[in-house]
């Protein structure tokens, strides 16, 4: 019985993680296709690491497979690093002259400020951080 409970709570954590990933992916599509904000280069890199998680985590749910953490975590970490870099750039801590996007959309252009302070790069960092936290919790839970 305890074994079953443990399994179902792990499933719930993974499901929550998938939900956050899906909402983030949908949000980014909403920004670019509905609100028509052109995504900058760094946004694309973050999407590259975010979008596959929608599928990978869903596959890990049916049937529940604990090894999904091993595949998902590296993607989430690289996505998190890109998001962190983007935020530093956006905040002006890293000067814009060394950023990789020279043509098209600037990575520091401000599109939205949710609740007065949340920018799109911050949303990305927030969701990658949550995803990583949940995956780590899942990993620890499985080990114990």
């Amino acid at each position: 019985m305890t074994h079953l409970n443990k399994k179902s709570s792990s499933w719930n954590i993974l499901f929550l993680c998938w939900l956050i990933v899906s909402v983030s992916a949908m949000g980014s599509l909403f920004f670019s296709y509905v609100m028509e904000f052109a995504p900058c280069v760094l946004c694309w890199y973050q999407r590259i690491f975010l979008f596959p998680l929608v599928i990978i985590l869903a596959v890990g749910l049916f049937p529940f497979d604990k090894s999904v953490v091993q595949y998902a975590l590296p993607l989430a970490i690289v996505g998190w690093l890109t998001a962190a870099y983007h935020n530093l750039l956006y905040a002006g801590i890293i000067p814009e002259s060394i950023q990789p996007c020279s043509q098209g959309v600037s990575c520091t252009e401000e599109y939205i400020k949710l609740f007065g302070f949340l920018s799109i790069p911050m949303l990305s960092l927030l969701s990658f951080s949550t995803i990583i936290a949940l995956l780590i919790i899942l990993k620890r839970g499985i080990k114990n």
């Binding site: 499933w11 949908m26 909403f30 028509e36 904000f37 749910l61 049916f62 043509q103």
Partner: protein
């Protein structure tokens, strides 16, 4: 089995939220533009703006365009057909949104040609020869000059007139209006202030037709 149902319902819910969110957002945007069109019509038509068609036309089609934009070139004949099919009912207003790198160079040539009364001829030549000078990998703006005589313009005069600071100012004004109206891609169309929300030939035709029907009830 229960987990499959939870997962399936979540997927469906997410899709529904996305679809409804989109239509809600677009509806709000449309209201906002309606208001802007009534309150500040100069955002859509400035005194310097080049227009085509009768002043009595009740449908104002505003197009934010870029001479170096392939889709603008592709749409120009379609817009012309729409105007011919509805004589006297549509007035086309061209606004500049030179988003391509270095595209303001061509806007300057256009404005200089306008002084010679050859705006539309020059624009047609530009659209027609775009492939030779506007390649994305290797833009060669200088190549436009060999095509300009086809428009029947005095090329030397254009070289002199195109550096008028008034032209640069007018481009800045158009770009500022484009930003206010949320135009981020070209061509950006508005029919009587209503933005073209889903891009495409058919969608543009529907937008124009609905404005014609609303303003010319039979």
């Amino acid at each position: 089995m229960k987990t499959h149902i939870i997962f399936g319902l979540t997927v469906v819910a997410l899709i529904i939220i996305f679809v409804f969110g989109s239509s809600y957002y677009k509806g709000k945007q449309s209201e906002k533009f309606d208001f802007m069109a009534q309150e500040n019509s100069e955002l859509f038509v400035r005194d310097h703006s080049q227009t085509l068609g009768s002043d009595d036309a009740k449908v104002y089609l505003v197009e934010f365009m870029d001479p170096a934009c392939e889709t603008c070139a592709a749409f120009s004949s379609f817009v012309k057909q729409m105007m011919e099919a509805n004589p006297g009912k549509i007035k086309l207003v061209l606004r500049y949104a030179p988003f391509h790198d270095g595209a303001d160079y061509f806007v300057k040539i256009l404005e200089a040609a306008k002084k010679q009364g050859k705006f539309w001829e020059t624009l047609a030549v530009m659209y027609g020869s775009q492939g030779y000078w506007a390649s994305h990998s290797n833009p060669q703006p200088q190549r436009i000059w060999q095509f300009l005589p086809q428009a029947g313009v005095n090329v030397e005069q254009i070289r002199k007139d195109m550096n008028d600071p008034a032209i640069a100012k007018l481009i800045d004004q158009d770009l500022a209006d484009a930003k206010t109206l949320g135009v981020r891609k070209t061509p950006g169309f508005f029919a009587n202030g209503k933005p073209l929300q889903n891009f495409g030939y058919q969608q543009l035709q529907q937008l124009i037709q609905s404005e014609i029907n609303a303003n010319y009830p039979n």
